[in-house]
């Protein structure tokens, strides 16, 4: 039961097209960027934060699985592992981002940085060399985690050594702590500092949940595509799907809880430094996007995922998940874009090419990694315990 044969049928056919589409879109982006570099970098940041979020979300859910076990994890573990391997291409995508800092952040622009007191006060933290240094530290930490999570898992496939499960577990505890701390820092650096006078203590958590949610949704959609191939066909059972659906429901509820906490406190405080963040996101057409997010990022998936009927059917569940992927993308747009476009949402064509371009390369890397190994972990003792008939 080698995963690569089974993969040939469906997903692996997408490997080359994904790369071609991705590169093509990136080339078009760069072409547009020569024309208007400011818009290029803004669109670039949106795609970058989204796809990096998916990769990091995969790492977080994977470590959660190692820590608590559960049958849902064995179904999607290889997908999550491949997702973490895309951190390599995301690291490559970081280079253009770092080159364009002064187009993106007021604090990185030498003229504006001295004009605004809010930025001067934060100069100790918000300055270009320190920013680049932090980014390198984040990626080093993430890629180190991803490396060992993949290495030991694959090693277990070959050697069937049960001690590796323990080792993965021991890595995942501290790993989640490292993930939490770095993502908190990174969310402040990359997104919160777009509006340097605004801050919110819950922001890092909202980011983590968004990442986990988008990763989980995407992985469920991919599970549908793979569910006809051999090793997965047996494992994608209604109870396993039910677990995946419950996890998705949990993340959806958590997202709503954290977002509402932030909104209520800032709305009730109504302080000039804080409320402007929401007024920028609730005026013009942005209000409609906010309503869309409340309805389709929370209310509708929440109600649908309460039902066992939906959760136990792969097609229905992945339809909900696909909707959540789209909404996560819109959410990211709503978080980032109003920092510049105060008048209302403006979907520039460079926004599309950036997301599609990075997404295409992301998928190429993802599929290539997926083909490396069996689609399900082979010798995890916890899985053998759960799945007596496989042994």
């Amino acid at each position: 039961m080698n995963g690569s044969d089974a993969l040939q049928t469906d997903v692996s056919r997408l490997e080359k097209p994904a790369l071609i589409v991705g590169l093509l879109a990136l080339v078009i982006s760069v072409g547009g960027g020569l024309h208007s570099p400011v818009q290029f970098f803004r669109s670039y940041l949106r795609g970058y934060v989204f796809w990096l979020g998916v990769a990091l979300g995969c790492a977080a859910v994977l470590m959660l699985h190692h820590l608590v076990g559960g049958r849902w994890g064995f179904v999607i573990r290889r997908l999550l592992e491949s997702g973490t391997r895309t951190l390599l291409v995301m690291a490559a995508f970081t280079v253009p981002f770092l080159l364009g800092l002064r187009f993106l952040y007021a604090w990185a622009d030498p003229v504006r940085a001295h004009a605004e007191t809010a930025i001067e006060d934060k100069a100790l933290y918000l300055n270009v060399p320190f920013f680049i240094g932090r980014t390198i530290v984040y990626f080093a930490a993430w890629m180190l985690l991803a490396h060992f999570l993949n290495k030991w898992s694959l090693e277990q496939d070959r050697t069937a050594n049960p001690a590796l499960t323990r080792r993965l577990q021991n890595l995942s505890g501290p790993g989640l702590v490292i993930y939490g701390l770095t993502v908190t820092f990174a969310s402040v650096d990359w997104v919160m500092s777009l509006e340097p006078s605004w801050f919110s203590t819950i922001y890092g958590m909202i980011f983590m949940v968004t990442q986990a949610l988008s990763a989980m949704s995407l992985v469920i959609v991919i599970t549908l595509l793979l569910s006809k191939t051999e090793p997965l066909r047996e494992m994608v059972t209604p109870p396993a799907l039910n677990d995946l659906g419950n996890l998705l429901l949990t993340f959806t509820m958590l997202w709503a809880y954290l977002s509402f906490s932030q909104f209520l406190l800032i709305w009730s405080g109504n302080l000039p430094d804080e409320i402007t963040w929401y007024t920028a996101r609730a005026t013009g057409g942005w209000a409609w996007i906010a309503v869309l997010l409340i309805v389709f990022h929370f209310a509708v998936p929440f109600l649908l995922l309460l039902s066992r009927f939906v959760k136990r059917r792969i097609r229905l569940l992945s339809a909900v998940a696909a909707g959540l992927v789209v909404m996560s993308l819109l959410d990211m747009f709503w978080l980032l874009a109003p920092a510049y476009d105060r008048a209302g949402p403006r979907f520039h064509w460079l926004d599309w090419t950036a997301v599609i371009g990075m997404g295409g390369v992301w998928f190429w890397r993802f599929i290539a990694q997926l083909k490396r190994a069996a689609l399900v972990p082979l010798h995890d003792p916890r899985m053998a315990r759960g799945a007596g008939h496989h042994g």
Binding site: F185, S200, T201, M205, T237, P239, I266, G269, G386, H389
Partner: protein, 456 residues
Amino acid sequence: MEKSPNQITEDLLRPLLRTSPKYYFAVALLAAVVVVAFAAFGYQAYSGLGVSGLRRPVFWGFYITNFVFWIGISHAGTLISAILRLANATWRRPVTRCAEVITVFALSIGAMFPVIHLGRPWLAFWLIPYPSERQIWPNFRSPLVWDFFAINTYLIGSVAFLTLPILPDWALVRDKASGWRKRVYGFLSLGWRGTPRQWSRLESAMHIMAIVIIPVAVSVHTIVSWDFAMAPVPMWHSTIFGPYFVAGAIFSGIAALILAMACLRKFLHLEDYLKPLHFDNLGKLLLMMSLLWFYFVFAERLTTWYGNEPSEMAVFWTTQQGAYAPLFWTMVFCNFLLPFPILAIKRLRTITGTVIASTAVVAGMWLERFLIIVPSLSHKFLPYNWGTYRPTWVEITIMVGTFAGMALLYALFAKAVPIISIWELKLGLHEKSEVRSQETEGRGKLAFGGQEKLET
């Protein structure tokens, strides 16, 4: 060595049917402390809040600290028990009831503090929105009113969640006892006869309660946190407060549960039921919460420092290196530096180890509540309005009284109700033997993916 069902009944009903003189002595001692605390409260009600240490600018002191602390402790029970039930963790069986009781009593004690804190406690009923003839309603935008509803919902839900699975045990006491006990427990067991229909209803009721109570519990401490976060006070007006308080509540709750279990184990000789395994598992949960707590403190401090608001930085530095720094670093020591190694190293995660860690955590979490409340109030915006706070003997007495009150209520409860759910233990034994017999037949009941996969 496994106990037989009869042995279990015998062991767990013993505290209900026989009472030692030591028990009477302990109860009398605790009751005396509680009486003194009530007297202190009476003195305060008679003379006014001036006898407490509450002065401008610090109007929230020990009382509100204790309020948040006890409401936090109350998250031990219901929440942990509901999560363990839903996750179907088999080790939970001897633990759930000890936990659920903590919720009910800690919540009742915590809910008393806002009333103790009132200048005219007899007017507390003004919080209730009733159609008075003056047409005055409470301010529905105030989180204090939300507190009233949330805490009462949680209290009612927790009492139901605790009582439902007690019914079969009370029926058992009724069947085993004689005399007045038979009549009292017969009344309490509400006609439980153990018919299949009753069992199936109990099971679905427990399942629904377990699902419903989780959002209720989360909402309670979120709303308690909004009592602070909705006020524009430096370091209170912080968006992370909701989940931060909930995580802290669960953290202190698990610690309280470990301490309660250790006491029960020692005083009621339940060594065969509350085993090292339970302390080990709860220790792991406590470890996880300790890390999460550390994250919250870190995220809050980092973002505040990054935000760099002058009024917030005044509070920030007074806790970090000013007058409150000794308390702050003690808190970090108690909540993270001490428990982390004890709980992370498997060899140290013994009963003694977890008890030491839990004691530290309970103290540390109390300090945390104090450090959230007092430094912010004593360093509010304008320096001319800065001040300090010192509790008086009245506040300290009332606080000590609530700890004694908790122990007293727990002791009385353990006398009236089997503190470990007897029928759930027996059910566990039964299920275990069923699995064993099935394994010998070669068809594991725990097959991956459930029953559907058995044919492959």
